[in-house]
């Protein structure tokens, strides 16, 4: 694998208290032939760091929890330092399918685009409430950032090294995904959307309801995010 066309592909996984699933996520990625895995432990208070280290990943640790956006940006920066040609970001809760990585990476390696965005909307199993939330999030992203994509909140994306140079986000939490789209647009990077599979397990669904960062998926936090974006756009 070391000499294959994927040898300079790095997978970034932001992880917060994922000790129960992180081992499987890493194994799945490795089984698909990707050895460069960067896990960013976002201030977990379980064994996420230890497990990722034992599985031979490059593990970075945030001393305190700063959110999925911050952890992903740390991972992207680490990939820059390590000389990645393509960086893939995916969630640490196992909802993304490692067999989709190649689908995201190949268009970039074949110089068809600079960024590929995984789109969950075509996949089965997404709860209706999540679909509605996604549509609202897409509209908000369009309203504030002028970019309309079918799944603005998908964390499963791939960036070329050139694209990675332009991505430098400041939003720590759920708003991060939209901010990235704004930066892609500002840098005029070519992107394509790729349908991806999604596995909504009991674990991942439960996590949405318990972890502060992912609570952003509920309506009240959606309002908070919109409010924050309005305030930022007025006063910043």
């Amino acid at each position: 694998m070391a000499n294959s066309k994927y040898s300079k592909v790095y997978i970034v996984i932001p992880a917060f208290n994922e000790s129960t699933v992180i081992a499987k996520v890493i194994s799945d990625i490795k089984n698909k032939g990707f050895k460069n895995i960067i896990v960013v432990d976002d201030g977990s208070n379980d064994d996420t760091y230890k497990i990722a280290k034992n599985y031979g990943c490059i593990v970075l640790k945030h001393l305190i929890n700063r959110g999925k956006g911050a952890a992903t940006q740390t991972g992207l920066d680490a990939a820059k330092i390590l000389g990645a040609k393509v960086v893939v970001t995916m969630d640490g809760d196992g909802q993304h399918d490692a067999s989709d990585i190649k689908k995201l990476v190949n268009p970039i390696l074949n110089n068809k685009c600079e960024v590929t965005l995984g789109s969950r909307l075509v996949s089965k199993g997404m709860p209706i409430s999540r679909k509605v939330m996604n549509v609202i999030a897409n509209l908000i992203t369009f309203l504030f950032y002028g970019v309309y994509v079918s799944d603005s909140q998908s964390g499963f994306r791939a960036y070329s090294s050139k694209a990675n140079l332009y991505i430098n986000t400041t939003m720590d939490r759920y708003e991060f995904e939209s901010e990235v789209l704004a930066q892609i647009r500002a840098a005029k990077l070519k992107y394509i959307e790729i349908p991806i599979n999604i596995h909504y397990t009991k674990y991942s669904r439960n996590k949405y309801n318990t972890v502060k960062d992912f609570q952003a998926q509920n309506i009240l936090n959606g309002f908070k995010i919109v409010f924050k974006l309005v305030i930022r756009s007025i006063f910043s």
Partner: protein
């Protein structure tokens, strides 16, 4: 002209004077800047004036177009409070960003150190 003040008006006035004095002491002790002192005098001075002469609000309300002085007072207060809340939110946001930057830098520095060691 015989002006009589109700007890609550005198109370408001005294409270404002106390707060201005307090800010003045902070200013003398260099705990507050001249700008902060002036802002404080303006804010508490205005409240004291309105407390002593509530008719000021009626006149201001007439100039701006409100029917009642109290409406003017309420709307102005809400606007000022909103402004303070928003500016505080921005400050917190900035602080959060700084914390994140530090945390991220620390994590990346560790990686750089590890890579240096290896090479």
């Amino acid at each position: 002209m015989n002006i009589q003040f109700a007890p609550y008006q005198i109370l408001i006035f005294l409270l404002c004077i106390l707060l201005i004095l307090r800010t003045f002491i902070f200013f003398i002790n260099k705990k507050k800047t001249i700008r902060e002192f002036i802002v404080s005098v303006c804010v508490w001075g205005t409240i004291a004036s309105i407390g002593l002469f509530p008719n000021i609000t009626v006149e201001l309300a007439n100039i701006i177009g409100f029917e009642l002085g109290i409406n003017f007072l309420l709307v102005t207060s809400v606007i000022i409070l909103f402004y303070f809340v928003f500016s505080q939110m921005l400050k917190i946001d900035k602080m959060e960003n700084s914390i994140t930057k530090l945390i991220r830098q620390q994590a990346l520095q560790k990686l750089k150190n590890e890579l240096e060691k290896k090479s």
